[in-house]
C-alpha cells in the first residue's frame, strides 16, 4: 500500500508541472487569412548562373531558358538574367535577400554551372522564397555541353512544380507537321523540337504527305498517317533508328492512330466500304487488329484514358460528330457531349478532362469524362488537333487563319491567353511528348 501511495505521489509530482504548464498556456489567438489568388505573374528573379571551368555563356543561357520557361506558364514574371545583379560562384546558395526584396522579387532562382574534366557540365539550381529566405528547391543535373537545355528545363520544372503543386511539363518535346507552300501543293514533313522551339529537326523529307504524328508513351516511337503509295495509312516509326513500318499490312486505309498508355497497343480508325470504325492492335504489329465499333457511320479519333481502361472517340452515328466513351474492349459505348457538335477528343494525362474541338466554330474546349463542365478555351478562326502537356495543365493545338497559315499554340487549362510556339515554317497537328527521362 505504501508503495502505491508513494508511486502516486511521484506521479502527481511529475504531473503537477505539466498541469501547471497547461494551465499557464491559454489558447492561441485565432486569425483567419484568405490569400489573394493573384493571376498576374509572381515575380521571380533569375540572375545568370555563375560558371566554373566552362564557357560563361552557359550561365546566361541556362538562366535565360529558365526564365522563358517560367514565363510560358503564364504564372510568373521573370526578372533577368539581363539587367539584374550577378553573384559569385561561392554564393550560389547563400544569396543576399535584401537585394531581391528591394527589387520586388517574391522568388529567387540561383545556381551554378561547373565544367567537369570530361567536358560535361554539372548544373545546380536553387529556389528561394525571398520573404522568408527559405530554400524551396535544390536540384542538380549532369549533362553534356550539347544538352544544357535539359538541365535548364528540369530546373524550371522543379521551380514551377514547387510553387504551383502541378507536375512538370517543360522538359518535353513536341512532334508536329511542318508545312510550307500553297494550299493545293502543300509540302508536309514530320518535325520534332523541344517544347520551347529549340533543337528542331525533320524526321521525314516531304516525299509523301504526312499528318497527325503521335508520340508513344516512352517517347521513342511515332505513329502517323502517310499518303505514301497513294493511300492514307498509319505507319509506326522508331525515332532513334528511323525504321518505319505499316501498322496494318496491306492496302486497307487506316488513320487516327493513338498509343495506349502502356505503349503496347495502338488504337486507330479503319475505313472501308464507306464505313470507318475504331480498331486496336498490338503496337509491335503482332496479332490481328480487334474491332471495337460497329455502328454505321464514321467512328474515329480514339484516345485512351491514362489508366488504359477506356477510350474516348468521336462518332457521327447520331447525325453529327459527337464524343463517346467506351471501355477499351469496345463495350459500354455512351455519348458524353451534348453541348454542340464535338470532335477530335484527347484524354488528359491526369484523367480529369478531355480536350476536344467544338466543330462549327472550331474552338478548343474541355469537358469532364462524364460529360459535365464543358468549357471553351480558345477563340481562333479554326482551332484544331488538341494535345495535352504531360501535367494536364496546358493544351497545345493548331490554329489556322483564313489565308491558309497554320501555327502551333498552347492554352492553359485554367483559361487565359493562348501562346504561340515559334516554328520556322507553318506547323500543324502537334503532339506533346511525355516528360523526358
Amino acid at each position: 500500500m505504501r508503495h502505491i501511495l508513494s508511486a502516486m505521489a511521484v506521479v502527481s509530482a511529475l504531473a503537477l508541472p505539466v498541469a501547471a504548464r497547461a494551465q499557464d498556456e491559454p489558447p492561441p489567438v485565432e486569425v483567419d487569412i484568405v490569400g489573394g489568388g493573384v493571376r498576374t505573374g509572381t515575380v521571380v528573379a533569375v540572375p545568370a548562373l555563375p560558371v566554373q571551368n566552362a564557357p560563361l555563356a552557359f550561365g546566361r543561357d541556362i538562366a535565360t531558358t529558365i526564365a522563358s520557361g517560367l514565363r510560358t506558364t503564364g504564372l510568373f514574371t521573370p526578372l533577368g538574367p539581363t539587367g539584374i545583379p550577378n553573384y559569385p560562384y561561392a554564393q550560389a546558395n547563400t544569396p543576399n535577400f535584401a537585394v531581391w526584396r528591394s527589387a520586388g522579387a517574391a522568388q529567387l532562382v540561383t545556381g551554378f554551372v561547373q565544367g567537369r574534366p570530361d567536358g560535361s557540365l554539372t548544373v545546380g539550381c536553387y529556389l528561394f522564397d525571398v520573404a522568408s529566405g527559405r530554400e524551396l528547391v535544390r536540384q542538380g543535373f549532369a549533362v553534356t555541353q550539347a544538352t544544357w537545355r535539359r538541365a535548364a528545363n528540369k530546373c524550371a520544372d522543379a521551380i514551377y512544380s514547387r510553387l504551383t503543386g502541378e507536375g512538370a511539363f517543360l522538359d518535353t518535346r513536341v512532334v508536329f507537321v511542318a508545312e510550307t507552300g500553297p494550299k493545293n501543293r502543300r509540302l508536309k514533313r514530320i518535325a520534332i523540337m523541344d517544347s520551347d522551339g529549340s533543337n528542331l529537326r525533320y524526321l521525314t523529307e516531304g516525299e509523301a504527305t504526312v499528318v497527325t504524328p503521335r508520340f508513344s508513351p516512352d517517347g521513342n516511337r511515332l505513329a502517323y498517317l502517310s499518303y505514301q503509295g497513294r493511300r492514307g495509312r498509319v505507319w509506326v516509326m522508331d525515332i532513334g533508328t528511323d525504321n518505319k513500318r505499316l501498322l496494318v499490312p496491306g492496302l486497307v486505309q487506316t488513320s487516327a492512330p493513338r498509343f495506349s498508355p502502356d505503349g503496347r497497343r495502338i488504337a486507330f480508325a479503319m475505313s472501308q466500304g464507306g464505313n470507318t470504325d475504331i480498331y486496336v492492335t498490338a503496337a509491335d504489329g503482332s496479332g490481328a487488329p480487334m474491332r471495337l465499333t460497329t455502328a454505321p457511320g464514321i467512328d474515329t479519333s480514339p484516345s485512351f484514358s491514362p489508366d488504359g481502361s477506356r477510350i474516348v472517340f468521336e462518332s457521327d452515328r447520331s447525325g453529327a460528330q459527337q464524343l463517346y466513351v467506351m471501355n477499351a474492349d469496345g463495350s459500354n459505348q455512351r455519348r458524353i457531349s451534348f453541348g454542340g457538335p464535338s470532335a477530335s477528343p484527347a484524354w488528359s494525362p491526369r484523367g480529369d478532362r478531355i480536350a476536344f474541338v467544338r466543330t462549327g466554330a472550331f474552338r478548343i474546349g474541355v469537358i469532364n469524362p462524364d460529360g459535365s463542365a464543358e468549357r471553351i478555351l480558345t477563340d481562333g478562326w479554326q482551332d484544331e488537333s488538341p494535345s495535352w502537356a504531360p501535367n494536364g495543365q496546358f493544351v497545345m493545338f493548331n490554329r489556322f487563319t483564313p489565308s491558309g497559315q497554320s501555327s502551333l499554340f498552347a492554352v492553359p487549362l485554367a483559361g487565359g491567353q493562348a501562346r504561340r510556339l515559334p516554328t520556322p515554317q507553318d506547323g500543324s497537328d502537334p503532339s506533346w511528348s511525355p516528360l523526358q527521362r
Binding site: D24, E30, T94, L136, Q139, V143, L163, G165, N199, G240
Partner: protein
C-alpha cells in the same frame, strides 16, 4: 656484367635528377590553391536523346554558339534516381515540429528508386555528391529569423495584468489581419480544388513582433486525392504571408495575458 664508371655516374645523375623532378613537382602541387567547391547537392544524370538522333544523321539545326562543337557525342548515362528534394510529393509530409529548412541528412541519403521500365541507353554513372562549406544559418533564413530564439522548454511568458476580453480579442484580431492581409493579397492563385485546403500555422512571437521560433503547421484540412498536390504550396504561401509582413506591431499589454495574447497566434490560411 660489371658497370663501368661512366655508367655508374650516369645512372646516379639520372636518379638525382629524377628525385629532384619528383620533389619539385610535389612541392609545386602543394602550392596549388584549392578550388572553391561547388554547393552541395544530389545530382541527377540526364539522358540525352540527341545522342542517338545525331548518330542517325538527320538534318539538324546548328547548335548555339555557346556549345562546344563535339563531333562525337559522349555517351551520356541513364538518369539516376532523383535526389530527395524538399518538394511536394504525392503524399506531402507535414512536419509537426519546427523545421526551418531541410536538414543536411537528405543530401547524402541513398537515392530513392524511381520506376524505370525502359532499358538504359548506356551504362549508369554513380551519383555525384558535391559539397560547399555549409552556409551560416542566418543568411539563409533572414537576418532576424533567430533573434530572440531560446532553447528553453516552452513556458508561458510573463503575463500582464490586462484581461483579454472579447473586445480586446477583436481588436487584436483586426490589427493582425490588417497587417498581414496586404501580404496575403499578393499570393498567387493555385489550381482548382486548392481552395478546399485550410492550413493552420502556429506563430510564436516575441515582444518585438518577430518569430520566436519557426512557424509550425498545426494541421491541414480539406486535403483529398484531387487537391493533394496543392497542400505544400498552400503551406508555403501561409509561411510567406507572415514572413513578408512581419514583424507585427501590436499593443504590449496584450502580448500575453491569462486569457491569451498575440504572442501565440494560430493563423488559418486558405486560397480563394
Amino acid at each position: 656484367m660489371r658497370l663501368d664508371r661512366g655508367e655508374v655516374g650516369g645512372t646516379g645523375l639520372a636518379l638525382l635528377l629524377h628525385a629532384g623532378l619528383i620533389s619539385a613537382l610535389t612541392m609545386s602541387l602543394a602550392h596549388v590553391p584549392p578550388e572553391p567547391e561547388p554547393p552541395a547537392m544530389e545530382v541527377e544524370i540526364v539522358d540525352s536523346p540527341e545522342v542517338a538522333l545525331t548518330a542517325a544523321a538527320r538534318s539538324a539545326v546548328a547548335p548555339p554558339a555557346a556549345q562546344a562543337p563535339a563531333p562525337d557525342q559522349p555517351d551520356v548515362a541513364q538518369p539516376s534516381p532523383a535526389p530527395p528534394p524538399p518538394a511536394p510529393s504525392p503524399a506531402p509530409r507535414i512536419e509537426p515540429t519546427p523545421a526551418p529548412r531541410p536538414t543536411p541528412a537528405p543530401r547524402t541519403a541513398p537515392p530513392q528508386q524511381r520506376p524505370a521500365p525502359t532499358p538504359p541507353r548506356s551504362t549508369a554513372r554513380p551519383l555525384d555528391s558535391l559539397r560547399l562549406p555549409p552556409a551560416p544559418r542566418t543568411s539563409r533564413l533572414g537576418d532576424d529569423f533567430l533573434a530572440g530564439i531560446s532553447d528553453a522548454p516552452s513556458r508561458a511568458p510573463a503575463q500582464s495584468a490586462a484581461t483579454f476580453g472579447a473586445e480586446a480579442k477583436a481588436s487584436v484580431d483586426g490589427a493582425i489581419k490588417r497587417q498581414i492581409q496586404p501580404c496575403a493579397n499578393r499570393q498567387p492563385a493555385l489550381g482548382s480544388g486548392a481552395e478546399r485546403i485550410r492550413v493552420v500555422l502556429n506563430l510564436r512571437l516575441d515582444r518585438s513582433g518577430r518569430l520566436a521560433r519557426p512557424p509550425s503547421v498545426v494541421r491541414t484540412a480539406g486535403v483529398d486525392n484531387d487537391n493533394g498536390r496543392y497542400e505544400q504550396p498552400v503551406i508555403d504561401q501561409a509561411i510567406a504571408v507572415y514572413r513578408a509582413c512581419s514583424p507585427l506591431r501590436l499593443p504590449a499589454e496584450l502580448y500575453s495575458t491569462p486569457q491569451g495574447g498575440w504572442g501565440n497566434i494560430n493563423m488559418t490560411y486558405r486560397v480563394p
